[in-house]
Symmetry: C2
Subunit: 415 residues, 2 copies
Amino acid sequence: MTTLETQGLAARHAARVLATAGTARKDAALEAIAAALEARSAWILEANARDMEAARSAGMRPALQDRLALDGGRIAGIVEGVRQVRALADPIGTVTNMETRPNGLTIGKRRVPLGVIGIIYEARPNVTVDAAVLCLKSGNAVILRGGKEAFHSNRAFVSVMREALASAGLPQDCVSLVEDTSRESANELMNLTGYLDVLIPRGGAGLIRSVVEHARVPVIQTGVGVCHVYVHGEADLDMAARIIHNAKTSRPSVCNAAECLLVDEAVAREFLPMAWRLLQTKHVELRGCPATRAILGDVVRPAGEADWDTEFGDYILAVKVVSGPGEAIDFINTHGTGHSEAIVTNNYFTAQRFLDEVDAAAVYVNASTRFTDGFEFGLGAEIGISTQKMHARGPMGLAELTSSKYIVYGTGQTR
Amino acid sequence: MTTLETQGLAARHAARVLATAGTARKDAALEAIAAALEARSAWILEANARDMEAARSAGMRPALQDRLALDGGRIAGIVEGVRQVRALADPIGTVTNMETRPNGLTIGKRRVPLGVIGIIYEARPNVTVDAAVLCLKSGNAVILRGGKEAFHSNRAFVSVMREALASAGLPQDCVSLVEDTSRESANELMNLTGYLDVLIPRGGAGLIRSVVEHARVPVIQTGVGVCHVYVHGEADLDMAARIIHNAKTSRPSVCNAAECLLVDEAVAREFLPMAWRLLQTKHVELRGCPATRAILGDVVRPAGEADWDTEFGDYILAVKVVSGPGEAIDFINTHGTGHSEAIVTNNYFTAQRFLDEVDAAAVYVNASTRFTDGFEFGLGAEIGISTQKMHARGPMGLAELTSSKYIVYGTGQTR
């Protein structure tokens, strides 16, 4: 058995205990984790300081250093997050659709944990705690495989959580870390069939592509977002300008930020200068089609083919003038990543058509794409945003980390 | 573009039309399919005769020949099945959990089709129609890849269904057949990312293993069933004997048939002869542990290690005496395939413990495992029985062939 198989087997055993541990024991463990993170925060910050030192000497970009950095405030935020997850309703055990069949069998569908969940992620060490506690609350054991940049921080977090689990009488192996951060360990985790029930990658497009390409265990794809805002010819143009400004600039690095603006030709001449006035306050770079450049002139760089399929994650916006809803919807279904798509319109039928025909996890009428988020959607928490159609689509909360089993009460029935 | 990519693209376009076709148009197409299968049944039987001739000259086993054969009665049964699916409620379009958030956004989760579903299956030509109409009713385009033994029958069925789709005003490419029945075409289908939303293998353990091993598209594993009946020390032994007899012998070739009997040592001496009296009427071969052989003697062959993990699909039953519920549950969670598991007991707490701790798609108290089936569970139809935890678990009906999208009605909200 390899190290990772041994770890997988330990997680599988822990998962069996956790699956029937009950809400009170799980919540006690979550409170123990919150308290331990507070008590050990100085030690965690020391570990983080080692990661930061390595990052600085490796010349890591300041934006990435900022993602990696912890301080007292950030740890307090993480602890607060643990307590919020603890306060959520336990999704496990609910029985739905219970009914008695004509032959007298009583059949119901009980919500159960998935089992063992693998998470592969990049530099943010807070994911270590966020993901672990969501898995715990939903009764799943978790195997975490973070990036090497956050290795010391992740190891400290996991060590504290494992001690807290033990103190609360649950198996430590409910949470474990893959300490080997090589590419080989990632590949082995992607192929740990028989141990992992599902693998969730959290990170950039490259990581997600690699997991989809190489994994043999079931995967939930998350997060790549090439999102559009489409301004229909009958839109409230002031509202449309505020929405594209918000969708592009309120937080350009996240997956629900807009990357492309589509504008009906009927209103392009009036709308594009309005949008530009707002966008230029944030120094947004526009990359436009010829019609866009004909209207706004040289402030718009010519868009290349690749620009229509790029998640910029930055203050860059592709802009295209379209003939109407048909072209807009086709364009979105061709170039979008099935994440979040918005139309701005006053027309009832066009709004309904957009909701019907756009194929994405979240489709908006007259609102910013930025709302696609587990908290905003009322799920209470989020482990990621699924852009696939199987199992879960859109923000994934606790319910999306569960499966079901049919329970059948008989009185001797045979078939 | 390869032939299969071209076919995948055509299916994707057809799926987009079908997704918003509405119940009336889909039902009209299903009725057109039923009528066309009736009208063209003589031609379908001619095609089947060619498959049967090839099967006989290749020396196919009679049981397999029987699966392959069609006649007027079987076609009538298939047509009846189409009309039953037509009569089911359309799962598409339902909106659940719609609510207005504090910021005024109204958010709901709408049920939508998965998109394009691939089905890989073996010799039964009726699967061609069954699977296609379940996909159609749930708004999905389907790419069928049947076995070469049923090639002419499958091609005839698909040709008739495509004509009927066109006559009903829906794209023919809602249903298509992979005409190349080589191993290469199966492999290409398993890797048709970007075109297939999900691939469902229907067939024996070898096929399913191969798909899980090689597929990069999302897969729903179906059907392998190493199912157990566990007779607890406080069971009604007459009931237990009837249940194991039914679970083993009512249809041994299917996945919900029992393959292994576990008996508490406290009742083994009394129960095993009772069970044997019933089982021997069907000439069931027993393969037992030493304790079983000590009780029943030489009518029991010694079980080898492999027997505990084998889906016999035949009149063969593995038998093991266990010390109690703990050993039985561990044994089932180790050797079962997560399909269907049953306990026979009069003890309330043992029954609940078995339901809690056994990790399977369907867990029974005092009933035969043979009920795990879409019709018996009230789903109205079934495309297979999922033994995985992601997306769907247990019998899959129309609802399990769907996904969701969040629809969001705003009034200009920004974040």
